[in-house]
């Protein structure tokens, strides 16, 4: 704190500096939104991340209407073919076309990611907003509960859930989703608390608004960009968790193709046909890398404080 006598003696100088600073900090919202796409296209990691993520999304969408072969047809006679004109990346141990498996696998991956992140978002953001709005013991309780949940990694909760409900896609989605909740609770509460401390919230309260309205009208819109970034990164984590669970046999069940499942199948043939592990591994890496780059790019582009420095 500078000496307050000085502050009152030289009000205008300090204030002028303040005003300039604030004015620059104020380019959020609509003003910045117009320039968003222009800046985005110049942002390298955003562009690369978007391209890779769209590649995975495109593969999943394509698999809905077309695959070179059926990903479910087993043809043991043509097993472990090397890449050829008919099978671009060859076939697996059951004679299924690798390209088709990868395409359909992208679909499982995206589905698991979307639903799990959806679970994490809806519960996590809700609880985080409540914690920030209510404070006191409500906040304490929510945070302790989320610490407790966080202590169980997705794999562990999936094993426990699988023991109760049996392994499968629903089990793994639920486990991953639950695992995502605490992260969203923390991120939401942290950024919501920062908004609650802002003067326009005080002004809104002074105007008689209750905490529900303030949460909906002031807090949520102002933390949206942070949540979008976090969701992108959580999506990557969900994909990794799904691959791990399927690899362990707890996730997507055969005959439904999944990248983790393909890794698992490739394991026994690692010395005979190593490429069988490389393809799904690369697919997972592309998806995770793409989403992480996208998240980083979005963080730079959406965070007004960072954007200002650019």
């Amino acid at each position: 704190m500078p000496s307050s006598t000085r502050a009152s003696r030289w009000p205008t100088c300090e204030r002028a500096a303040d005003r300039i600073r604030r004015h620059r900090g104020n380019r959020t919202g609509r003003a910045a939104a117009t320039g968003f796409w222009r800046r985005a296209l110049r942002h390298r990691s955003f562009v690369l991340g978007a391209v890779l993520s769209l590649l995975v999304l495109g593969a999943a969408l394509l698999s809905l209407v077309w695959t070179p072969w059926s990903a479910y047809d087993i043809d043991v006679a043509s097993k472990l073919h090397p890449p050829s004109a008919a099978h671009w990346l060859g076939t697996d141990v059951l004679g299924r076309d690798i390209v088709s498996l990868l395409l359909v696998g992208a679909r499982s991956t995206i589905m698991v990611g979307v639903i799990a992140v959806g679970i994490g978002l809806s519960f996590g953001v809700g609880l985080g907003l409540i914690a920030a709005a209510r404070k006191g013991w409500t906040e304490e309780l929510i945070m302790r509960m989320s610490d407790f949940t966080f202590a169980f990694p997705a794999v562990l909760s999936a094993i426990m859930l699988a023991a109760v409900a049996g392994p499968g896609m629903v089990t793994s989605i639920t486990a991953i989703g639950i695992f995502q909740i605490p992260t969203f609770v923390r991120v939401t509460r942290g950024s919501a608390n920062a908004i609650w401390a802002r003067e326009f919230v005080l002004a809104a309260r002074a105007a008689g608004k209750g905490s529900f309205r303030i949460t909906i009208e002031h807090v949520l819109p102002n933390i949206l960009s942070i949540l979008i970034v976090q969701a992108t990164i959580q999506f990557a984590l969900a994909i990794l968790a799904e691959a791990a669970l399927s690899y362990l046999g707890l996730g997507t069940q055969p005959p439904q193709p999944s990248w983790g499942r393909m890794l698992n199948d490739a394991q026994t043939l690692l010395f005979q046909s190593p490429m069988l592990a490389v393809y799904p591994g690369a697919a997972i890496a592309i998806a995770v890398l793409g989403l992480n780059l996208l998240g980083d790019g979005l963080r730079d582009l959406l965070d007004p404080r960072l954007a200002r420095e650019r």
């Binding site: 303040d18 604030r22 104020n26 326009f200 105007a207 008689g208 209750g210 905490s211 009208e217």
Partner: protein, 334 residues
Amino acid sequence: MADGDAPLIEVKNLGVTLNTSRGPAQAVRGVSFALRRGETLGLVGESGCGKSVTALALMGLLPDSAVISGSIRLDGAELVGLPDSAYCKLRGNRISMIFQEPMTALNPMHTIGHQVAEPLLRHTGVSAAQARQEAIALLDRVGLPDASKRVDAYPHQFSGGQRQRITIAMALACQPDVLIADEPTTALDVTIQGQILDLIADLVAERGMSMILISHDLGVIAENVERMMVMYGGTVVESGETNAVFTRMGHPYTQGLFRARPRLGARKGTRLKTIAGTVPELADLPAGCTFADRCAIAEARCRAALPAVVDVGAAHGVRCIRTDVSMAAGGVGA
């Protein structure tokens, strides 16, 4: 309204304890005053003296961890300890507040029309269309040019002075009985400060509101309120009719503030006098007179206990045990 003499707001022995990084500390002590309908009261002191904390206590907007003692009555009804849900019905409706920072007091995501109409929709039974009409009328009244055209614009499209006009419109939407203006012009250009203060004064007179005007600037207080309180270290060190206080300043702190005021037209190179030292942090407040560390005439007994208020004139009180010395020394000029 029937009983013109009963105070609209009556504060008795208000105390606020806040949690600071160094443990709980008394931010406000023993603040008492009464405000009748239509009266204006000024609250002046350097920054960090507890002016905003006092205002937020009146609004019920202090953090949950704050402990409030004493009594705040609005039309006879006790506000200390009122649940937030009940307070919500008063805020913006019977007591309104405008803040220092018009840049941040408006939500960047909503149109100004929406923000001005919102309190009307919530507290009164008007329709959306009526609220919008009312918002335009208010924006027009506070001097926003082209109000009917700009009602759907966003806050960032306005200058600081215009935004403060908008927050004033917001605060006045429901015709509150009391307006608390916390340094409403501190963040504005000097040229605009006067206009905004005039606007507030006009609106207060026009609507018969009571006003508590907070400022660190004695000049602002002198020109805009009938009565004033000087705050230091969370206590009111001097209070009285503005004229009486400016004619016979009793407290060494008030005198110091007056000497330290920036003067227009002062010769170049003239050094501003200041009060030596700085406002103490809450946790460092001295036990006795809060001003003792900076007071030129402090004695050992000043630090023994919080001095009582001494009457030095009609309704003019000074919290100092050496008013005989401070006022004899020529007061203001010394």
